[in-house]
Amino acid sequence: MTMSIIFRATPILIGATLAALAARASEFPTPLPADTGHKVETLPAKYPTSWAFLNYASDRIELRNVGGDTRDVKAQLQGHDSATLLVADKRPEIYVADTVWSRGVRGTRTDFITIYDAQTMNVADEIVLPGGKRGLMTAMEGMFAFTDDQRLALVFDFTPASSVTVVDLVKRRVLGDIDIPGCSLVFPTGVRGFSTLCSSGTMLTVRLDEKGAAAGRSESKAFNPLDTDPLFTSSALVGGVRYFPSLHGRVQPIDMRADDVKVLPDWPLVSAAEQSARWRPSGWQVIAGDEKLLYVLMQANAEEGTHKDPANEVWVFNPATKARLRRMRLVRPGSSVALSHGPAPLLLVQAGDRLDVYDPQYGNLIRSLELSRWNSGRMVIEPVH
């Protein structure tokens, strides 16, 4: 009966096969066992610092091992529109701020924060954000931020009126929103507060009370010359000071540790000679920092409109001495840069469809990971703490 079916199925091949069987059967007397205990993978409670979240702006997020030659994908999180990520280290939770419509590209809009269990990647909960006002743009730093030691999250809203929605991540509910007219993006300030960059060239700082309401506001002097040499909104935090590079190659430090920010003196990343060779910061996530140093994506022969083009080099600065320590030539032009955390940091550079991993000390390429194609070509790299 069985054989007759075989013959019906594929008559020609049988003869040959039966011969082959005789030949090989002896090598493996017992068949492979049935697979039992098939399951769903889970992740360690504490991720290795050699892992990084890759936010493919803005519809998918990938957790990837960048520290081993296995280069393996650990997990994916779904994004829909301008999805942005916060990874807690106080709680085993991951937060994704996102926007959907009930019928895909149309229907009822819902802005929401998904809370993922960091070990199972299952959805633990979600927090719906009111008003349909979450800012929709290519995923970038400043759209979604922690404050108050990760108890609160801040969501940048843009309608195009600007505001910030304050969310309690522990109680998992929205506390309210705060208008920031003419200002954009949110950066944590002090113990419980945030600062935002204003179109008047100033920084507005808002101190929050326990309930997440505005307890005080202060606006800095103007320091951001939007007409002549505006700051990128990408920044690096070193020792509580946030460093914003400018389109033409200055860096603007701002001390964010106190309730009011301190705008520190800016300094040049480029010498006069380098300036005339038009060396400028360039890319998407253009600057990164470790405990001590700044790493800036730099491009020669820059001109109007090239400020988001991939960069050829990474320049390493010591902000304490304002000295450049070294220049690193990239094996291929890169758009986003980050440093992994932990004892032996790695320099991560997104270069088109590849993520190149360099030694930040010696600048040699350690490994290169192939990425999936995506439309924006923009990425935000968030190494695991």
Binding site: A34, D35, R60, D72, K74, Q76
Partner: protein, 187 residues
């Protein structure tokens, strides 16, 4: 809801729930008697498999080997022997494995099956292709092999259906390939 088709139920539920070799034979026998014969295929398809091997979303994932000479091949590649009747994305490329779903997804208890030949021991194994559901699917390691696939008229041997049933979400993510047992005794 519509009443459950008996034959389909026996085939699907049966294959999904049991995994010992012996029981596979009995299921197989039952199906043959029930005239729903599985295609028994003497030769695995081999390298000419994966029509989407140049898929731009495949990404570069490291090779995954069993280490067991009796189970050869890279489980992230479409030409791995267990994938002879798969149509979908390989969970091995998404944080899962040949037998496990990626974090945050759910394995469908109901499945479709194929019969693939192990090039090492020359045996035909019945493979259960369980879909993992509710996660992100973006075509990485897409793989379309159709050995033993049959039109949807016989659902349990069709690989075009999204086999996400009894899961919270029926949105397809990727597919694993479990050995249920050997299809025919060699003697």
């Amino acid at each position: 809801m519509a009443q459950f088709d008996r034959l389909t139920e026996r085939a699907l539920r049966g294959f999904a729930s049991r995994t010992s070799r012996r029981s596979v034979f009995s299921i197989l026998g039952g199906l043959l008697a029930g005239a729903a014969a599985l295609p028994l295929l003497p030769v695995a398809r081999g390298a000419e498999g994966g029509t989407n091997s140049d898929d731009p979303n495949s990404g570069l994932v490291p090779p995954q080997y069993s280490g067991n000479p009796q189970d050869p091949g890279d489980r992230t590649k479409c030409d791995y022997w267990r994938y002879c009747a798969i149509d979908g994305s390989l969970c091995s490329c998404y944080g899962g494995s040949i037998t496990s779903c990626p974090p945050g997804t759910e394995m469908s208890p109901i499945t479709w099956i194929g019969t693939c030949r192990n090039p090492a021991d020359q045996r035909n194994y019945i493979i259960s292709y369980n879909d993992c559901c509710g996660g992100v699917a973006w075509g990485r390691c897409a793989c379309q092999n159709n050995r033993g696939d049959r039109p949807v008229v016989r659902p349990q041997t069709n690989n075009e259906i999204t086999w996400c049933f009894g899961t919270k979400s029926q949105s397809y993510t990727c597919t694993v390939a479990l050995i249920l047992g050997v299809a025919i005794e060699q003697k």
